[in-house]
């Protein structure tokens, strides 16, 4: 199972085994990782599951679709070139070892 590490804004981190096909958001919420609100439940409709994906992983995660791109304009902490919505990133074996950073807040 791919391992993904979530790093809190405070610096603390947790590594979780994520079943292939699950989204990063689901993995975080199911494991009680703080800092991912996901109030719409994964519908690409709320921008409260914002994560920062380091540049070296950018070509391994799925590309940003237009709906996600629009919503990234509405995150609580302004978007950066690393910004993604974790509900739109399905985990595959290619993402084994991924580390994502969480923003200071989601709302």
């Amino acid at each position: 199972m791919p391992k993904v590490t979530f790093v809190q804004f405070s610096g603390s981190s947790r590594t979780i085994d994520v079943p292939t096909g699950w989204t990063l958001m689901e993995a975080a919420v199911q494991n009680g990782v703080d800092g991912i609100t996901a109030e719409c439940g994964g519908g690409c409709a709320c921008a409260t599951c914002h994560v920062l994906v380091p540049a070296e992983w950018a070509d391994k995660v799925p590309a940003i679709r237009p709906s996600e791109n629009d919503l990234l304009e509405c995150t609580a902490v302004p978007r950066t070139p690393q910004s993604r919505l974790s509900c739109q990133i399905q985990v595959s074996d290619a993402l084994d070892g991924l580390t994502v950073n969480l923003p200071e807040r989601q709302s």
Binding site: E26, Q30, E39, G41, A47, E73, C74
Partner: protein
């Protein structure tokens, strides 16, 4: 000491976790009458029904995550009475559980079809996971699906059934879809959407009777005398608040369990939250009942604060969403009282918003395939910023410029 939460849906789970985050150190018991750990309901009419979602993906948390927070979750546990004098709830098993604080998050149940023949085995409803499992299995073998009710549940089921290649008819007693929630321009957009996908819409007729056929199918008779044959009938005609437990204990009830702006019932040791409450929100003059994730979560937080001894008034902005086919409808605010509206963008482009005003003040916004505009509307409304109808009508005007500088 213990806090007992009756009902393990979204509001119940929210209260349990908010109590722990708020530093409560006593026992927290989360009692659910279903066999499942707390799960998300919205996907039941969408992804889950379309059969590409396993049960465990519906769960909010694995049970171990609740245990880790020292939340005692008990499935298949029905509360039959509240003994307020003794400060105890009575379980169906006869066991009595003492509480220092009690939260009622009992939710709703579906309104049953009030017609002869409604007990036919091909009649389904959709509220909980058991309903969804039964509906999903019956949908798989059905060719013709009849949906009673052109509201959110009925239309989401219709879209899912149509996507699965079923013949779908929707019967609505009013003259348009989602009539209680959205403006005619939105109803019309969704009517065209469903028709475009091949759904037959029947307006201003009601179901009057259901008769079984020898092959297991049914024949529905409508108020205009016509009949519709179907292998599966799905009824989505609204829900009723589960308030009997509260009423039997002498708590005040109306269209739901009556709570104040702090989610407190008429007994100060008992709070209630979510779909089951007839509640006060500081944003609105009149009490209301809302069936939504937003209300479950936000009112749940308020209820937990009250149990912790902190009176925090409920004033969150309501929001809702519905997914039908590839179209996302998102709503913010309560728009029913509007006296004017402005459509921003073109319905023909399948991406537009409707801004509702009363006396020039923004009441709410419905967005179709414009999630960013929905989020922006939420930001504006939560800050009390009301754009003028003229500004909204001008698509060249960037509404974001109305936000205060970060």
């Amino acid at each position: 000491m213990s806090i007992v939460i009756v009902g393990a849906g979204q509001a119940g789970l929210q209260i349990a976790e908010s109590l722990r985050r708020g530093g409560y150190e006593g026992r927290v018991l989360l009692l659910g009458d279903e066999s499942f750990a707390p799960y998300q309901r919205p996907p039941l009419s969408k992804k889950y029904l379309a059969d590409d979602m396993a049960d465990e993906r519906l769960q909010f948390r694995p049970v171990e995550q609740l245990t880790k927070q020292n939340i005692e979750f008990r499935p298949l546990t029905t509360v039959t009475a509240i003994d307020r004098a003794a400060g105890e709830v009575v379980l169906a098993s006869g066991e009595r559980v003492a509480y220092e604080g009690l939260a009622l998050t009992t939710g709703t149940r579906v309104r049953p079809l009030p017609v002869p023949g409604a007990e036919h085995p091909a009649v389904c409803y959709l509220r909980g996971l058991d309903d969804a499992k039964r509906l999903r299995s019956q949908l798989a073998s059905a060719a013709r699906v009849l949906v009673i009710g052109g509201g959110f549940i009925g239309l989401e089921v219709a879209a899912t059934a149509r996507h699965a290649g079923k013949t779908v008819t929707v019967v609505e007693t009013l003259d348009r879809l989602m009539a209680r929630a959205v403006a005619p321009v939105v109803s019309e957009y969704f009517a065209e959407l469903h028709r475009g996908h091949g759904v037959e819409l029947r307006f201003k007729v009601a179901l009057t009777a259901i008769a079984g056929n020898p092959d297991g199918s049914l024949t529905a008779t409508l108020s205009d005398g016509s009949t519709v044959d179907a292998d599966l009938l799905v009824a989505g005609i609204g829900v009723l608040p589960n308030q009997e437990l509260a009423a039997a204990a002498g708590l005040e009830c109306a269209n739901g369990i009556v709570v104040d702006e702090f989610a407190r019932t008429s007994d100060p040791r008992i709070v209630a939250a979510g779909d089951c409450t007839w509640h006060i929100n500081r944003r609105f003059a009149a009490p209301l009942r809302l069936e939504s994730v937003q209300n479950a979560v936000d009112q749940g937080k308020i209820a937990a604060q009250s149990l912790l001894g902190n009176a925090v008034p409920y004033q969150d902005l309501p929001w809702f969403w519905s997914d039908q086919y590839d179209v996302k409808l998102q709503m913010v605010g309560l728009s029913q009282a509007h006296d004017s509206l402005v459509v921003r963008g073109a319905p023909e482009s399948a991406a537009f918003s409707v801004f509702y005003f009363k006396a020039g003040e923004l009441l709410g916004v419905d967005s179709i395939n414009r999630p960013a505009e929905h989020m922006l509307a939420r930001k504006l409304m939560s800050l009390g910023i009301s754009p003028s109808p003229d500004a909204v009508a001008d698509t060249g005007f960037d509404l974001k410029t109305l936000l205060p500088a970060p």
